[in-house]
């Protein structure tokens, strides 16, 4: 079988395992009205399936949000329900089921819209179901009340029915599945589960009819086609067990020759024909299957089946030759398995799991098989499709990524410390001088502000008690001082004409000034107020500069002071986490290797048993061929 074909099959298997977990986030509904850029950034990572970065970004945002005195003024306020929900979503996709469950529970218990709560209930129930806790799933899904969001309109009853099947409520499951059997996105899946529910409720005949219907669903979608094949396969083997081989063969022959179930179907189809005694017809599917990848269980089994059928058709010579070929293949495969087991024990499989080139591909598990120097993956095809093995591999991959991150962060902390020491070296000699200058400017500023406040107070008083003398100009004040000086210089009691005229002139001039000051009082008062407002503008600017300076001075100090403790603590936390991750990686890696080696050893033992069987069958076939030939010779001699 060609590699692309195998990859396609394997991908379909994996896709079938992942049905229902395609990343669709709660927040997607609300994108058009995105009001928080950092929430958008978390989504940017999540859409790329970089869930660690998405959770980390959103956690940081949520921590900041909840630390605010007035969170309602923060832009995340508009998304807070969705953000809480999304963090649960991301955690779910990052396989942190425990924390995702807690986050989703918090949404359910929070003050949220009915549809949001119902979606949260659905997701929590799904987590329980996936973690094989059907009773918890049932208890959760039954809390659902009122309107269900449109996007889970069919998924919710589908999940509910799955839970009912798991908890033995088959009639309820049947009723639900009947309603959604033909709903968009449910074609094939709901029908198949309906068939399963009918069988489990004891309605054998109805179950057969149901799976028969699913087995004829017309679809272009890969996943639905796979479900159709699965229905036919299950039905075929069920009928084969019920000793109805002719009917079984009809269903098994419906399975596509290129789908993920084709090998099993071809094998079953051959057995069905053989069970009906039609060995020549058994050879048709078995001969197709025998040409496929020899690592497949069904192919290895059929390598015994084909000569067995020839033997039944009395073609002993051919049977003996084919048993011989099977023996050779089994020996080669055992050698290959030994090499794979050795390679896994040398750690090559784990090294392949964390290869860089796999990171860019979401089907990395599929492509693991295509990498050079990884012979160990040939026999792990089916195992890789199993949930436990996949989860273990992904955990190992995630741990390796965490380790890389932690090691990078250790370097970050070193860089931070360097930045801090450079800043300290720069600012520390400068700050004392700046501080002196700042204090001088600070006292000057305070003085000017006090003067301004005094003027303000005086003007306010003048509103009640007018004081024109307060509004004389500098020139007027100087002139008045000069006139008063002149007045004082005139000899006391002198009565000559010149002095009298001078006194009158001084009085007249003082009168002019007093006249001007009094008649212009309102204008001058308005002008003075205007100047005060202008001064206020300047004072505001000054205050702003002052505040900016204070902030800058504070920022300069904060740029290198007060980090030591935090960095020290972070360094300890990171070191501790690195130790834990290393330990967990080693345990997880060992577990994967044990699972893989166990699987390979199981396959090896099976091949050894096949070898024994083939040797006996080959000897028997040779005996029979020889006997047949002798009988023919005797016959001819007669």
């Amino acid at each position: 079988m060609s590699t692309p074909y195998m990859v396609m099959r394997f991908r379909t298997l994996i896709i079938l395992c992942l049905i229902g977990v395609t990343p669709v986030f709660a927040a997607e509904q609300n994108d058009a009205a995105l009001k928080d850029l950092y929430f958008g950034e978390a989504l940017f990572y999540a859409y790329q399936e970089d869930y660690f970065s998405a959770i980390s970004r959103l956690d940081t945002e949520l921590a900041q949000y909840y630390g605010l005195d007035e969170p309602n003024l923060n832009s995340l306020y508009y998304h807070i329900d969705h953000a809480e929900f999304s963090v649960g979503d991301f955690e779910l996709f990052y396989r942190m089921h425990n924390r995702a469950g807690r986050a989703i529970k918090a949404v359910i218990e929070g003050n949220v819209e009915e549809t949001v709560r119902n979606e949260a209930i659905y997701r929590l129930a799904k987590i329980y179901y996936q973690k094989q806790q059907p009773l918890n799933a049932l208890e959760t899904i039954e809390k659902l009340q009122g309107q269900v969001p449109e996007k889970i309109r069919y998924e919710e009853p589908f999940l509910r029915a799955q839970i009912y099947i798991e908890t033995g409520r088959f009639t309820d499951a049947i009723n639900l599945l009947n309603k959604i059997e033909n709903s968009p996105g449910m074609e094939g899946f709901a029908g198949y589960n309906l068939g399963v529910a009918l069988f489990q409720s004891g309605k054998e005949q109805e179950g057969i009819l149901q799976l028969d219907k699913v087995g004829q669903v017309k679809a272009s979608d890969d996943k639905v086609q796979a479900m159709r094949d699965k229905a036919n396969l299950v039905l075929g083997f069920r009928l084969l067990e019920a000793e109805q081989p002719d009917l079984a063969k009809q269903y098994l022959d419906r399975v596509r020759l290129t789908g993920p179930f084709s090998n099993k179907a071809l094998l079953g189809s051959g057995w069905a024909a053989a069970a009906a005694g039609k060995f020549d017809r058994a050879l048709v599917p078995w001969s197709i299957l025998a040409k496929r990848n020899v690592t497949n269980k069904a192919v290895q089994e059929v390598m015994l089946g084909v000569p067995y059928a020839y033997g039944k058709l009395d073609v002993y010579g051919k049977a003996a030759i084919l048993y011989g070929q099977a023996l050779e293949s089994f020996s080669a495969e055992i050698a290959r398995l030994d090499a794979s087991i050795k390679s896994i024990r040398e750690g090559k499989f784990l090294a392949a799991v964390i290869r860089e080139e796999l990171k860019k591909d979401k089907h990395w598990l599929v492509h693991l098989r295509e990498l050079p120097e990884t012979p160990e993956t040939y026999y792990l095809l089916e195992m890789m499709a199993s949930h436990d093995f996949q989860e273990s591999l992904k955990n190992y991959f995630d741990l390796a990524e965490l380790k890389k991150k932690l090691q990078k962060w250790q370097d970050y902390l070193t860089s931070f410390e360097e930045i801090i020491s450079i800043r300290a070296a720069y600012y520390e000699p400068l700050l004392p001088d700046i501080e002196v200058q700042f204090r001088a400017l600070d006292s000057k500023m305070k003085l000017r502000i006090e003067q301004r406040d005094k003027l303000d107070k005086r003007l306010k008083k003048m509103l009640i008690t007018p004081r024109p003398d307060f509004l004389t100009t500098v020139d007027e004040r100087l002139m008045l001082q000069q006139l008063e000086a002149m007045e004082r210089s005139l000899p006391e009691g002198a009565d000559d004409t010149t002095n009298e005229r001078t006194r009158q002139r001084v009085a007249r001039l003082k009168g002019v000034i007093t006249w001007n000051v009094n008649t212009e009082y309102q204008d001058r008062f308005t002008e003075a107020n205007k100047h005060l407002r202008e001064l206020d503008g300047d004072v505001d600017e000054l205050k702003e500069t002052y505040a900016a300076f204070v902030r800058t001075r504070q920022a300069a100090t904060q740029s290198y002071k007060g980090y030591d403790k935090q960095i020290k603590q972070l360094r300890i936390k990171i070191r501790h986490a690195v130790d834990q991750v290393t330990q967990l990686m080693s345990r997880q890696g060992h577990m994967i290797e044990v699972m893989a080696v166990n699987e390979l050893e199981l396959r090896r033992r099976r091949l050894e048993e096949y070898q024994v069987k083939a040797r006996f069958a080959m000897a028997e076939s040779y005996d029979r061929a020889t006997k047949a030939q002798q009988e023919l010779v005797i016959e001819n001699a007669k």
């Binding site: 997607e28 859409y47 980390s56 970004r57 956690d59 924390r99 965490l402 920022a555 577990m591």
Partner: protein, 169 residues
Amino acid sequence: MAMNKLIGILILLCATFGLAGAEEVTKEQIKGLDEQVQDIKKDVLAISAELNLLEEKLLYPSNTHIAFFVSVAQDADFQPDAIQITLDNKDVAHYIYSFKEVQALQKGGVQRVFTGNVRTGEHNLQVKAIGKQGGSKKTDTATYAVNKGIGPQFVEIRLTGSGIEFRDW
């Protein structure tokens, strides 16, 4: 009969393939380890969030903090290939998008393309976006006066297909 015997043998073989002496991996072991992996993920995420805050405080104090975010209008069929950003005639960011990143932007994700420090006051931001629209190449350029205040300044650069829009946050 013989066929039934063969099937029987095969089933028997499958059933008796117990790995005597082999190390077993139980469901409980898998679950237990998985929970420990979940716990360490939680711890590392907490460290990451703390580190994010420390980095922001240390490297981008709020009075000089500036960040540019790129988004793509969801109704536009514009696919960005690269974006080049200059601030006060200095190149500050040049980014080439991967397919996954373009998809993430088109779904509504927002990319923080640059974080840096500038003084308060007006700054000249120039953006050049190269991409594809309707199957042909397209280059959009635009300038924007960023008025940096005393608090952190965030500017969204929105690629609409018909041009580039800016928004202060």
